[in-house]
């Protein structure tokens, strides 16, 4: 672990910069650095803190000093063809708007940079109890150097295509980068957002992102989160979701190429008749570490939530799923489901699964469960008895395990891409950060 004093200095330096650039509220600054234990005091958050501190060292730049004058097309090509006509790029967390063929002004969707803490705090009340509970939220709140607003407007006269927010990371030295996205889905709007993060070389990155998502009444969001992060890096993403009445959120998070990955989803189901669907799918190998933390807080009657998280682990990979359903007092007709299933492909792989349910109302239907196991030997024999080699049969069963989530994806090209990605990774046809060499030579 890095020397604590070095880390304190590093964080303090960044926090000071953020104060000067109007990006840090004094309440965070004071509590974070006058009392260092603020960051690590919660027992449940200990693993995150420990992992984070392990990744930190004083050689990491917190803000990229060098701005690259390069065409995105020359360093990045999306693997999913025709997925979205509207792509917004961010390079090292800076908004990269030198992209051709995007007419922002006439767009249904606006993405713009927030300039001061005042603008950011305007949304703070939606998630006011979060900073006390989530370590990575605290880290981003203290250290973020860029914040963006994504506003999805309601215009029923126009056909709405999915939009894509692509976060690219390329730097010549180790780099920390922290940014915040505030995504507001207007009343009555139905939208799909693909949110990606890619490291483009093998340098060490610490990538911290927070997505504060507000769903206005009668809105619907499909949010697909994908990542391709190299083996040396830490990637964490916090999803804080606030749902008003009759809204529906569907989050699909995949970690197929992420070495050390933390995804936290905190959902406040605030309005009646709101629906929440959270899906997570990961495949980790070698000593990769994938962690999902979910919390769905039902705060209104007639609400439905469903959580399905599936992990595939091979080699010495480790994983964690900690999920919570919380149903507040005096609610009725709430339905909440939570399921975590894990498939271990090696004896050395490990998973910790912690499904929690807390209900303070009687008239609710809840289900939660967890199952972890190896490949079903009887199913394996069934496939082998039809001439399918054992190894291939294992691949088929593993793909089948993942398909339960992939089949829920509504964008067919994305569905096909993910199925193909898992298939290739299982068969060893895909290296983590497989594009590195190409990208480096292009720069």
């Amino acid at each position: 672990m890095a020397n604590l004093n070095v880390i304190k200095d590093l964080l303090k330096q960044q926090a000071k910069k953020n104060i000067l650039t109007n990006f840090l509220d004094y309440k965070y600054y004071n509590c974070a650095f006058l009392d260092y234990s603020y960051l690590v005091k919660n027992d449940f958050e200990e693993k995150k803190a420990h992992k984070y501190l392990n990744f930190l060292d004083n050689k990491c730049k917190v803000i990229a000093e060098k701005k690259y004058q390069i065409k995105i097309d020359s360093i990045f090509k999306c693997d999913i063809p025709s997925i979205s006509p509207q792509i917004f790029f961010f390079l090292n967390s800076e908004f990269y708007n030198e992209v051709d063929n995007v007419d922002y002004l006439n767009s249904l969707n606006y993405v713009y940079k927030l300039k001061s803490i005042k603008e950011i705090l305007a949304y703070d009340h939606y998630f006011k109890d979060l900073e006390e509970k989530n370590f990575f939220n605290k880290v981003v709140n203290v250290l973020f150097h860029n914040a963006y607003k994504v506003l999805i407007n309601n215009d029923t006269n126009k056909i709405r295509e999915p939009i894509q927010l692509v976060n690219l990371f390329y730097y010549e030295e180790p780099l920390h980068t922290y940014s915040k996205f505030i995504i507001e889905i207007s009343e009555g709007t139905n939208v799909s957002i693909i949110f990606c993060a890619h490291t483009l070389n093998s340098n060490k990155y610490i990538v911290g992102l927070s997505l504060d998502i507000i769903l206005k009444p009668n809105s619907k969001l499909y949010l697909y989160q994908m990542s391709n992060i190299n083996d040396s890096s830490l990637y964490f993403i916090n999803n804080n979701i606030y749902q008003e009445k009759n809204s529906e959120v569907n989050i699909f998070s995949t970690a197929i190429n992420s070495a050390t990955f933390f995804n936290t989803m905190n959902v406040y189901v605030k309005g009646e008749n709101a629906i929440t669907n959270l899906y997570g799918l990961w495949h980790s190998v070698k000593d990769q570490d994938v962690n999902y933390y979910t919390s769905v807080k039902h705060m209104a009657s007639y609400t439905i939530s469903n959580q399905l998280f599936k992990g595939i682990m091979d080699g010495k990979a480790t994983g964690l799923y900690k999920g919570l359903i919380l149903i507040e007092k005096n609610l009725k007709e709430v339905e909440a489901k939570q399921k975590n299933q894990n498939l271990l492909l090696s004896k050395e792989s490990k998973i910790i699964s912690l499904p929690f349910l807390r209900t303070y109302s009687d008239k609710v239907k809840c289900f939660h469960g967890s199952a972890t196991g190896y490949i079903d030997q009887e199913a394996l024999f069934y496939l082998c008895s039809r001439g399918i080699p054992k190894k291939e049969a294992c691949f088929l069963l593993t793909e089948a395990f993942a398909n339960e989530i992939i089949n829920e994806i509504k964008i067919s090209s994305l569905k096909e891409f993910l199925a193909n990605l898992i298939s290739k990774k299982l068969r060893g046809e895909l290296q983590n950060c497989f594009k590195c060499e190409d990208c480096v030579s292009n720069l």
Binding site: Y382, S385, G387, I388
Partner: protein, 249 residues
């Protein structure tokens, strides 16, 4: 085609097969009948290469080759097919993907080119119609949500599609209503020819009303105790195991 000699096998600590001798030639149909727990399914499992059964004595030659040197998939690739008594459900693997993968691996092992999409579609459709399976059958996950009868028909469907040489059907008639039983029997009669062989493991005579066996074997306590022609099955149906066994003793 198949030559089993003095076969003994254990599952865990328990000896299940206690000296089985059986010879099956091309073009033959053998029926193996016996009470519950006599070891019929274990015998089927040993031939197909089920991993939890340990052979402790004896030999099995398949087309002159030692079967014990082959993995389960190699046996299937060389033409052995087991129709399961309890077919497994595999959520997330479609019948189409399953059969395509299976056909192509069998072809690859036999140095044949992989099947074209058009030929595959024609083959699957032709065999599907024999068993009157619905059009969406191939889109469904393997055996998931199938009725007992559909699962058994699916075993026969796979047999027709893969066209193996030696077929062992473990209680294929259980769970089938009379119409489905006729369909399955018709399919077996379509499949049967001079170059393949069938071993039917069954409790009842009723399947044998539709497909005539060359040999009927009575299997008790881990071995074949009596072999006869089709009339033995009728006698068994009439008298029951106890009477036949006491006559042998």
């Amino acid at each position: 085609m198949l030559e089993i000699k003095r076969l003994k096998a254990v599952v865990g600590d328990k000896e299940i097969l206690k000296g089985v001798d059986l010879t099956v030639k091309r073009g033959e149909v053998h029926a193996i009948m016996g009470p519950n727990g006599s070891g019929k399914s274990t015998l089927a499992g040993v031939i197909a290469g089920k991993p939890n059964i340990q052979v402790i004595e004896g030999s099995i030659l398949y087309e002159g080759e030692n079967l014990f040197n082959m993995s389960a998939e190699e046996r299937a690739q060389k033409g052995i097919f087991l129709g399961f008594q309890y077919p497994y459900e595999i959520q997330g693997v479609s019948m189409l993907n399953f059969l395509k993968t299976s056909i192509n691996h069998i072809k690859k092992a036999n140095n044949s080119p992989t099947i074209s999409i058009v030929s595959l579609a024609n083959l699957l459709d032709e065999k599907r119609k024999i068993l009157k399976l619905s059009e969406d059958f191939l889109k469904r996950s393997v055996n998931v949500g199938f009725s007992g009868g559909e699962k058994k028909k699916n075993e026969i469907y796979q047999m027709l599609v893969l066209n193996p040489k030696l077929v062992i059907l473990d209680e294929i008639d259980s769970g089938l209503d009379i119409d489905a039983l006729k369909l399955v029997a018709e399919a077996l009669n379509i499949f049967k020819n001079e170059n393949n062989a069938l071993i039917l493991i069954t409790h009842y005579q009723r399947l044998l009303n539709f497909i005539t066996p060359n040999y009927v074997h009575i299997f008790v306590n881990g071995k074949i105790i009596k072999t006869g022609d089709k009339d033995l099955a009728l006698e068994l149906e009439e008298k029951g195991y106890e009477e036949i066994l006491s006559a042998i003793e």
